[in-house]
Symmetry: C2
Subunit: 345 residues, 2 copies
């Protein structure tokens, strides 16, 4: 009994020391000096050939031919002495891999911070977005009246007025929540990150999931960190092929899997579902948090190592939906790194 008490005491001191040291790291990040990397580069995973006679509607380019779609662009950087598992960063709706780079107000992004903390870091552009090619066939086929207008995909952009409450910057545009950590003074730079999104017309699971399975196997051991729209992709990837997935961190998923998900595919993969602040101020997000709690409950019952954490419950306050860009983004990263150290083998 006494032994147990002492162990608990020692553990709590250890955790407290950790908390201090990581807060220190975040605070020092601004003053980080030069960065030495072992290797960097970019490549594609996935992809399939399509043949079409609707590649072009102008004479300078031949309309007939073969193009590649569904592939996923990946940029990576490796530190000198990488940890045994890498980090793969998967952006959300209407955004690209840029989400994880320099924050709108110029602070360091997670892509570099995780690297500086010793992880190999992979940043992707979802299939059909950013540097990952979409197909021109539907647009050109409608333009030449081979297909009717409603064959066009849903090609949606998130306007700032609608995005504002969904990203939980505040109750409505342009009012901010008191204590908000998102740098709204730099919001113009943030809106420039947003791109049109084809995903809502694509078959499920979207090609990004297959590409993530290929990427995880290629890396051999990686934590998949997803955000928002891509929140569910790591789970779908594990169900397709768990090889190479060392852990799943799903940040503010648009939806968690249902309680009837194939939990056996998640066995041995530590799972964290993470939410920011102000969730109770949003009906949509409150509902999503409840859905994730139900999923995690069912996963745990099935023997999966899973948890849901809301940042305010661990003493981190003011985070928006874009928590990787919030002013305390490195503090959140530190917390995540502590989590991985405890849970990921």
């Amino acid at each position: 009994m006494l032994n147990r008490f002492i162990v608990t005491l020692m553990l709590s001191q250890f955790v407290s020391t950790l908390a201090t040291s990581t807060a220190g790291l975040a605070a020092e990040a601004k003053n980080y000096g030069p960065l030495t990397i072992e290797r960097q580069g970019s490549f594609f995973v996935g992809g399939r050939e399509i043949k079409s006679d609707a590649l072009s509607t102008i004479p300078q380019f031949i309309s007939q031919g073969t193009v590649e779609v569904d592939q996923m662009y990946v940029r990576y950087q490796m530190p000198l002495h990488p940890k045994p598992y890498a980090i793969t960063l998967i952006h959300g709706c209407c955004l690209t891999g840029k989400s994880w780079e320099t924050a709108p107000d110029g602070r360091m992004g997670w892509d570099e911070y995780f690297l500086r903390r010793g992880f190999s870091v992979y940043v992707v552009d979802q299939s059909w977005r950013g540097r990952s090619a979409a197909s021109p066939v539907a647009v050109n086929s409608v333009k030449t009246r081979k297909l009717p207008p409603d064959s066009l995909p849903a090609f949606i952009s998130a306007g700032r007025e609608g995005a504002w409450p969904l990203f939980r910057f505040g109750p409505e545009y342009p009012t901010a929540f008191p204590g908000l950590q998102f740098p709204i003074e730099a919001q113009d730079e943030f809106w420039k990150q947003m791109v049109p999104d084809w995903n809502y017309s694509m078959a499920r699971p979207v090609p990004t999931v297959k590409a993530l399975a290929e990427l995880s196997q290629r890396i051999k051991s990686t934590i998949l960190i997803s955000h928002s729209q891509s929140g569910i992709y790591p789970f779908q990837t594990a169900a397709m092929n768990p090889k190479g997935i060392a852990g799943i961190i799903s940040i503010e998923p648009g939806a968690c899997p249902g309680t009837d998900f194939n939990m056996s595919s998640l066995k041995g993969i530590p799972i964290l579902v993470l939410f920011g602040d102000f969730v109770e101020k949003s009906k949509a997000w409150s509902k999503r948090l409840q859905g994730c709690k139900a999923f995690v409950g069912a996963a745990k019952e099935a023997g999966v190592q899973a948890e849901v954490v809301s940042l305010p419950d661990v003493g981190i306050h003011g985070n928006s939906h874009m928590l990787m860009q919030d002013k305390n983004n490195l503090q959140v990263a530190d917390w995540l790194i502590d989590w991985t150290a405890k849970h990921v083998k």
Copy 2:
């Protein structure tokens, strides 16, 4: 007279030493060790707000609102002791900034090589391409029948069969020119780089030009290196505002400016127009080379420091249109760095 002879001799020895040393650098690139950088990150330049009620055609997203278009995504890396002028890399048609990164067969791209040679390097995605947002308005307006199908933009992709002779991989797909330096064994990875291109429906000059002017001023001193479709952009940028442009290297431009171009905007900016090999085997490229020679002739007559160089004429053979990815890409980069050392102040 004797003095002049000795100086010439010394100079030619110096140039010969340079040539040897840079060839050595290229050969050693594969064995380059870890890379230390002073700073890296990404940001946007340019951009304008548009308000529309055609942002979405699905209920999950509000159709009305404000989005940002025309901005240009920029990623940069700075070495420890940068040269006084940076390098800005601007990709061509149907491609993104990926063009300059890791070559299809895994060799180092120019983005990293110029950095290792001491340049701050900026890589952009042209406006409306890659991580630089396009507008969804035309597509959604046609889908909802507010606009007729021919309001759709020309949204063109380059099929591999048509691209093959234009990229001068060979006379026709899939036959390669003897001695070709492009790594056609890795062509699958290359085709994955290609994305649909909106440029052909956009007003001239395209928004990328304005964004390049803003970027050049922000960097303060940069050589603009353009390729193919973007070949003419640096000239258009200088005509808009020459501030910050330390030099122009236009690689295989789709078109040079006409002989009636406003040459006074180019005064004091050293200009190189560079072509690869096999140009005489392509009617389209022979014509473009002739056009560039006419432009350079007129520029020189107007007192501009300009030249056209074909790589075979300086002893570098086998280069395709994608010479930044060819097997001798670092040798070509070395030659360019020598050129800048001689011409850029």
